[in-house]
């Protein structure tokens, strides 16, 4: 399994778009599995950290495979996208539930729940990113890697062969632009 994930990553890196489609469901369900594993083993106050999750996911899926840095960073890029969709899908589903959409069997106690505003934020960030992708795809990708993939500016710089300084300032510009879009 680890081999097939590694080879899928390799194929995707070499431009095979179908490999990404095969990879996504694997990453998606593994990420969920690890998330629930966390809930089981960690203390109740533990907060689910996207970055830590993705790192663990990589170790798990590609453990015996390549130690190639490029494979790892490409994997991170996929995982970032998956993490983004997990968070956004979840926030949207909750939003829909609150509006009374879908079959309602569960009335969740609001006290422990996140507020609708916050739930809205991740969706708004996602939508802002979509808008940014249309005008400047490269910068949108930086944000995705940094926030959903948990990569540092140094790592991004290395994988994209850019000066760290350039990555940092592009990120800040993108974030400022997004913040203005999202928070007004």
């Amino acid at each position: 399994m680890a081999d097939s994930v590694t080879s899928l990553i390799g194929r995707w890196r070499d431009g095979d778009a179908a490999a990404l489609e095969q990879l996504m469901p694997i990453v998606y369900s593994e990420l969920h599995r690890i998330a629930s594993g966390y809930m089981r083993s960690e203390s109740p106050s533990h907060t689910l950290q996207p970055t830590a999750l993705i790192n663990e996911l990589y170790l798990r899926l590609a453990a015996s495979g390549s130690r190639d840095f490029h494979d790892r960073t490409h994997f991170m890029a996929i995982a970032a996208r998956v993490m983004r969709s997990i968070l956004v899908d979840h926030a949207r589903a909750r939003g829909a539930a609150k509006r009374g959409g879908g079959k309602v069997f569960v009335a969740i106690n609001d006290e422990l729940d996140f507020t609708p505003e916050r739930a809205g934020t991740v969706v708004a960030l996602h939508e802002g990113l979509e808008a940014l992708t249309r005008s400047d795809e490269e910068k949108a990708r930086l944000v995705e890697l940094r926030f959903f993939g948990g990569m540092t500016a140094e790592e991004i710089a290395l994988v994209q062969s850019k000066p760290v300084r350039r990555v940092r300032s592009d990120l800040r510009l993108a974030l400022a632009w997004l913040h203005r879009e999202v928070a007004g």
Partner: protein
């Protein structure tokens, strides 16, 4: 103002302290718009990072919260009390009935992992399985009350709450003696056997799912849940998401192979091993996941007496037999396992005996399943490199010949050797496609070589077989198969083999012609099938004259007679069909004394002869033919290796005999009981075959058909609630088939048929409301199917039958106007088709039934007035 200008200025300003930035920008540009833009972005920069960081953290927290429900949360009719535990798949909560209708404690399991599509698929599977599982009513099985989807889209189950301890803890804390431990264990076996009889496999038997209550009653949890949660076996990506309890998982489970009732036998035995010896059958602590899988799949379980020398030999033998790697070699049922344990308790001799030398090949395959797959890949690479070299070098004759030999060895020997192994359809496809690619590139290089042309034709024949040989394991690509067979025939026509005098050439040609007939027959295209079959019979008769001693020739000839007989039967020439079948049976009876390898063909022909007799309503001859067929097959299976073909043939003969036994209205009760048993035996074989080879489309269709026939037999035996359950199983298989290929007309017809029958069984068991829903669904489906094929009399007959059934449901409900409408529609439909084909017996009998319905309606109408 360009984005680049904005970027450059923004970046430069970032280096300055915030209060110096405004004046810096003013100095850099006179453009007011650019100044405003950069200043605005700089103002947002300060808050942006922490804002998004927070947003994402809280979104992650909400995912987390969704994994843990607070007390008081309402799920369906239940209110969460507390968390009982978490597993890889989600959490289990203690819950109380919330609507106050009655007091009930329950365990609510919420499945909280997977992508939305996955959750959706789970909910669908849950819906399908829930009704079947809810029927499981046994004192030692925890009930499944309810299930559904939470508002966040997560699937959940509500189960009977059991207050108890795992069976191993129970035995240990009470310090039970070895024999006393068997008492709760045997109750567990009875419960599992009860579920197997209801066609439900547990799939995750382990101490944590076998709780013992304070008064010593064992209770089985989570029956059938593992199947709902388990990965879709047709999807290789799902392998990565398999959650296992490896200590008790069977070898086939860890390999990702299909699960059968034999897997439950293994898991039960693994639990018993623990109860008897104090440790599990394998030492898995500290092993990597890969080594865990290898250990369970390949390492023989050491006799329990090596762990605890006081374990008696008979108990050792029982455990060893139940823990065999090969599911075929374990106890065939949990009952047999339990009976042997009872014999041990009573001090009588047990049936378990030490390993024999049989099944070596199967063992080899099992041990080498990784190596075999690798061999295919390596050969493919070698062939690929060799082909390139030859084609580039143009006519390096010797190497060319070598390569051809290699391709052929690969294609025929290797393919043959794995053909009858369960689960080999996909590897076979890989083998054949690979070899074919190389042969084709060689053929392109030398089109004038007749031997090569024949080899290529043989390769196309093989490819066609794997795509859609309707007489063997195949991938269900009928159109692709026809293309391949046609290509083979064209190639053979090029070299003039249709009129060849050499038996080998004629035989290959006849085989290809036979396959083409088979495809037309499968697609119910009688107009194309009839001339193809006549050509085939003509060819093989000629072949038989020159080559009568060859068993291959005899097989080819009997296949041709069989195909033509089948077509004649479908064209209502039953006497012609019977004569051909009798001729075939006679030929095979004679030849199989000299060539025992023809016995399987004899059994198949006898079964088909039985079917023709059945259609002629000559039931005594039909029953005699089928009994002879079963005897031949049971003899074959008892003496030889269990081939897929022979097991499937036995399945067909069991199933047909069952149906025929209850067809006469005067069938005695013992015939009805025998029919029910035969139906179950047939379904069990179908299930084993389908689970052993999930990629095989024919196995799926067999599964649906045997389940439906089993249900028919139950209905015929008057076992209405059981018939409802069996029809639901059939419906589920039919739905699976439609999902697999939504455009498959046959699959949709089968679904409509099984749902209509389910309606029938529901009506008979008194559930009129659900009966109405099923019959209405079927009616809608038939209307659509009939609109697409307005001249198909088979669909018309089924539609008429269903209208009659629907009319009966309305009649029962007292809705006479609707009942009258169905009866009228049905009679008009039947009349239209009977006018075109006055010999159509099925439609005439449905028309009679519809007329009866009409008079019943009028009688009732007169009474109510």
């Amino acid at each position: 103002m360009t984005p680049d200008e904005v970027g450059r200025l923004f970046e430069a300003a970032l280096d300055l302290p915030p209060h110096d930035r405004a004046s810096f920008i003013e100095k850099q540009t006179p453009d007011p718009e650019l100044r405003r833009e950069v200043l605005s972005l700089l103002a947002h920069d300060a808050k942006a990072e922490s804002f998004f960081d927070h947003a994402i953290r809280s979104a992650a927290t909400s995912v987390e919260n969704a994994l843990h429900l607070p007390a008081g949360t309402i799920i369906g009719h239940y209110r969460i009390v507390s968390l009982l535990g978490r597993g890889g798949m989600g959490a289990v909560y203690l819950a109380d009935r919330a609507d106050g209708l009655f007091e009930q404690r329950a365990a609510v399991k919420i499945v909280s992992c997977g992508a939305p599509e996955y959750a959706q698929a789970l909910v669908q599977r849950l819906e399908q399985e829930r009704r079947i599982l809810a029927q499981l009513s046994h004192p030692n099985i925890a009930r499944l009350y309810d299930g559904g989807q939470t508002s966040t889209g997560l699937p959940y189950f509500v189960m009977e709450y059991i207050s108890g301890v795992p069976i191993d803890d129970y035995c240990r804390t009470r310090n039970l003696s070895r024999n006393d431990r068997l008492i709760p264990f045997l109750k567990v076996c009875d419960a599992v056997q009860y579920a197997h009889r209801n066609l439900i496999v547990h799939r995750d038997l382990k101490p944590a799912n076998l709780l013992v209550t304070a008064d010593g009653e064992p209770k089985l949890l989570d029956f059938g849940i593992a199947k709902i949660l388990g990965p879709n076996q047709a999807d290789p990506a799902a392998l990565s998401t398999r959650a296992l309890t490896p200590e008790y998982a069977s070898p086939e489970q860890v390999r990702g192979d299909p699960i059968t009732t034999a897997s439950d036998v293994y898991s039960l035995a693994a639990v018993l091993y623990l109860l008897m010896s104090g440790s599990g059958p394998h030492k898995l602590d500290g092993l990597s996941p890969l080594d865990t899988v290898r250990t369970i799949a390949e390492v023989e379980v050491p006799p329990a007496s090596t762990v605890d020398p006081t374990i008696p030999r008979d108990l050792d033998a029982i455990l060893t037999k139940a823990l065999r790697k090969d599911p075929e070699r374990r106890y065939r049922t949990v009952d047999e396992f339990a009976s042997d344990l009872r014999r041990y308790l009573e001090g009588r001799p047990v049936h378990a005996s030490p390993d024999t030398l049989l099944y070596r090949i199967g063992k080899f395959w099992r041990r080498n399943w990784i190596a075999c797959t690798a061999a295919v890949t390596v050969l493919a690479i070698v062939l690929g490199a060799a082909t390139a070299a030859v084609v580039q070098g143009r006519r390096a004759d010797r190497r060319f010949a070598d390569l051809r030999r290699l391709s052929n060895t690969f294609l025929f020997d290797f393919e043959e050797s794995i053909r009858q192994l369960p689960g080999s359809t996909k590897p076979r496809q890989l083998v054949v496609n690979t070899a074919l690619t190389y042969l084709e590139s060689l053929a392109a290089d030398s089109t004038s070589d007749p031997t090569l042309t024949r080899e290529l034709a043989a390769a196309y024949l093989k490819v066609g077989d794997i795509q859609g040989d309707t007489g063997g394991p195949n991938l269900g690509d009928i159109a692709g198969a026809l293309r391949s067979y046609t290509k083979a025939k064209q190639l053979l026509d090029q070299v003039g083999d249709a009129t060849a005098s050499q038996p080998d050439r004629l035989r290959l040609y006849a085989t290809v012609a036979g396959r083409i007939t088979g495809v037309h027959l499968w697609s119910a295209d009688l107009q194309k099938a009839l001339p193809a079959a006549r050509e085939q019979v003509e060819l093989t008769t000629r072949l038989l004259e020159s080559d009568s001693a060859n068993t291959e020739t005899i097989r080819t000839a009997t296949a041709a007679y069989g195909a033509l007989s089948d077509i004649l039967a479908r064209s209502n020439d039953l006497t012609g069909a019977k004569d051909l079948r009798l001729r075939t049976v006679q030929l095979l009876r004679n030849e199989s004394t000299r060539h025992p390898e023809l016995k399987a063909n004899l059994a198949a022909s006898l079964s088909q002869l039985g079917t023709v007799y059945e259609k002629l309503e000559d039931f005594n001859n039909a029953i005699a033919s089928l009994r002879e067929s079963i005897a031949v097959l049971e003899g074959l299976l008892a003496s030889g290796t269990p081939s897929v073909q022979n097991r499937r043939q036995l399945m067909i003969s069991y199933s047909r005999l069952g149906t025929i036994l209850i067809t006469p209205k005067t069938a005695p009760p013992e015939a009805r009981r025998e029919a029910e048993q035969l139906g179950f035996k047939a379904y069990t074989i179908a299930r084993e075959l389908a689970e052993a080879d999930p990629a095989n489309a024919r196995a799926l269709s067999d599964l649906m058909a045997t389940a439906a026939r089993y249900a028919h037999n139950l209905l015929g035996a008057g076992e209405y609630p059981q018939a409802v359950g069996a029809y639901r199983t059939a419906v589920q298989h039919a739905e699976d088939h439609v999902r697999r290929d939504p455009n498959d007309r046959e699959a949709r017809i089968n679904r409509a048929l099984t749902r209509g029958y389910l309606g029938e069984a529901l009506l008979k068991s008194g559930d009129t409301t659900q009966a109405l829903a099923e019959r209405q669904f079927a009616a809608k489906e038939y209307a659509e199917l009939a609109a697409a094929s307005p001249d198909d009399s088979r669909i018309a007959a089924a539609q008429a039958w269903n209208l009659e059934g629907l009319g009966h449901v309305y009649l029962r409900l007292g809705d006479l106007a609707s009942a009258r409408r169905q009866a009228g529609d049905g009679i008009r439909l039947a009349d239209r088709f009977i006018a075109a084909d006055p010999a159509n017996r099925a439609l005439k009998s449905y028309r009679d039934d519809l007329a009866d319905l009409q008079s019943e309606i009028e009688k009732k109408s007169a009474r109510t007035r």
